[in-house]
Symmetry: C2
Subunit: 406 residues, 2 copies
């Protein structure tokens, strides 16, 4: 049996990934510092769905599937020796690395959140790479990156999977081709750390011949996977707060409580999306298809489709009958952007993704409406501002009034 260590395996993507891999026959060990639960407390936020403690989650999985999942509470950014000891004990063939602070708004909330995001994410990634290199074991590192590293003011070209062919002019005036890492243009401190991760992957792949896959993921929507729906103790998170809740979840929540959907700016922002069911399948495909030793980092775009925010709002509004309200945008970003992304690599591996139009009703009925009594209205508004020039007051008007009226 191949063993896989899932770092951040208590989180929104990590937990269903751990269950999916366990069901598929991998020996799974979760490593998590439980920071996501701690940040919930810090923000006064909570998952709409009732999340069981990690030991109950794992015991329920054992009861239902008969399979064991290991758990170690290790902070990989700080407890390096414990990480090394774990790798020697578990002897994994792959590590799935979700061990990073993953909310852009949280990373822009204030100085301590900016510094935490940088210190945590960079040290976590580097410690994993250094530990794998030092172990002498052939461990494939599969990292969850984000489409967001590229920013959203591109030149209209389809975003390739990591690398781009460009032409440069030689001293003799003749042009020649070279391949570059597709240039990043991060829009938050969080996205910046994922761009920095890329450089560490590049170095460790070259210097230590580590096998590394970097998955540039779109916004993940949906809550349940076939495994998490087996028992309520296995249920996955549904975040709708202003920091961790992605735009679709906030719309679903607003619709469930009968409020207008608050669209920031013109809603012309185009984003990439993928269902959590496809996230876990992609990770399994990535684990099964590592780069050869000594090969460059494999970068795959992990997304199914793109949508404009206002079109999402229309879709949710048409399903639920709520209104759409346009409010100020706290982010520093283009009002309107196009986004075209190649996902050829996962399509070639056989992925047939779930699309929004098919899965959205399930989210509305089975999650947002079912658990509406657990809704905490005060946490839904975005409170982060992108620069010192934007004072907190920019998030105002309709958005706040709407929400506090709930």
């Amino acid at each position: 049996m191949e063993n896989v260590v899932v770092i951040g395996g208590d989180g929104f993507c990590g937990w269903p990934t751990a269950l999916h891999l366990s069901r598929r026959g991998y020996g799974v060990n979760i490593v998590d510092n439980l920071s996501r639960r701690r940040i919930d407390e810090e923000l006064g936020a909570t998952s709409l769905t009732p999340i069981a403690p990690i030991d109950q989650r794992i015991a329920a999985w054992k009861e239902i599937s008969g399979r064991e999942i290991g758990f170690d509470k290790i902070d990989v950014a700080l407890e390096f020796d414990a990480l090394v000891a774990l790798l020697n004990e578990v002897k994994p063939t792959a590590i799935v690395h979700f061990g990073e602070q993953r909310a852009a708004p949280y990373s822009m909330r204030g100085l301590s959140e900016k510094r935490y995001t940088v210190d945590n994410n960079i040290a976590a990634t580097h410690n994993i790479l250094a530990a794998v290199a030092a172990s002498g074991r052939d461990i494939h590192v599969v990292h969850l990156g984000t489409m967001g590293v590229y920013g959203y003011d591109g030149d209209g070209l389809e975003i390739p999977e990591g690398y781009q062919q460009v032409k440069v002019t030689g001293d003799d005036g003749a042009e020649f081709e070279r391949e570059i890492l597709y240039p990043t243009n991060p829009g938050s401190v969080y996205h910046m750390t994922k761009s920095m991760d890329q450089l560490m992957f590049q170095f460790y792949a070259k210097n230590d011949q580590l096998r590394i896959t970097d998955l540039h993921q779109g916004i993940v929507w949906g809550t349940q996977t076939p495994e998490t729906r087996l028992d309520e103790r296995l249920i996955n998170r549904f975040d709708y707060d202003g920091d961790y809740g992605t735009v679709l979840n906030r719309f679903l929540m607003q619709a469930a409580v009968g409020h207008p959907l608050s669209v920031h700016g013109t809603g012309g922002q185009t984003r990439a999306f993928i269902h959590i069911r496809d996230t876990v399948r992609c990770i399994e495909l990535a684990i099964a298809n590592p780069p050869a030793k000594g090969e460059r980092v494999v970068i795959r775009n992990q997304m199914a489709e793109t949508h404009r925010v206002r079109d999402l709002a229309k879709l949710v509004a048409s399903m639920t009958g709520v209104q759409v309200a346009f409010v100020d945008n706290p982010r520093k970003e283009a009002a309107e952007n196009d986004l075209r992304v190649s996902n050829q690599s996962f399509r070639d591996l056989g992925l047939k993704p779930t699309l929004l139009a098919e899965g959205l009703l399930e989210e509305t009925v089975d999650i947002a409406e079912k658990y509406v009594d657990r809704y905490r209205p005060s946490t839904i508004a975005a409170c982060s501002v992108w620069t010192t020039m934007n004072k907190p007051g920019i998030v105002k008007g309709v958005d706040r009034i709407e929400v506090s009226a709930a």
Copy 2:
């Protein structure tokens, strides 16, 4: 009077920069955690020149020049609040940021050194940027980067100053130009951190309109500046150990004790060089020529000339009469490389650099021969290995025997 904070102002580049700026009329505050002195103790190494404690250095400067230099022992990677308080008190118009672990061999020595280099360098740079952004003050950040971020297996083109024009092919098959950050290809964990710094500069320049200059410096040689030679208590460091001693200093030291000069590999490695006197002038020029607010990061190549290592060895051998010995190379790098670098930006600002052929005799007589009695033979060999595949035994033979016979 304009105030400048020199972070890392007790180090090899930082100290002469602090004195130079003080003499030119800037109010200078040194911030340093004295880590370089601590690492000397850790390595059992010491500067060939006798370095006075920081308080004696500053007192001597006051005595000789009549000028005050402030000093705060702050670790900018860890003591964020102290850094913020200092900026509010000093109100600098510029920060010169030398506050990073700067030796590639030290960064590859082992796991704790790799982790220290990443944790320290990234947190230091990010804390400075976050503190400046939060201060609301218009503080120009001048950072010391390195030519080494680009690696030494280029495509033969002259390395530009940070940015490169490339052509990409649009969906309609037509080509168009775009500008990219010249791609990095770091050859050590240390160089990797400097590549990562670039991404933080790019983000903070864009998001917070910080004014940032990144200086990609060559290997600095020479010891004294007009200020440090005014009194022996002001003397600058001369490192010759296997971690912090650059190739030229090791040659000068070997020559002074009558040993063959140990050239790693074929000595075909081409590197960029600059004299410490020109380093301090370049920094003054960089401070005086900041980017406009909202402009992209200004990147300047801070180097005077390039040489192959074996040609350096020949130069030192011809001056001193010692032999040249070729030994194994502990680094993972091309045996031979070309290197052409644009330094137009500083030439346009009036820099007329000191060249090796002019200044080398002074180093031999005034430093290496004068202080030869302080030489500690055991520290000169390179002990770091670049991968777990290279066991320590690779640094062997002529090099070690030579050195331990001293």
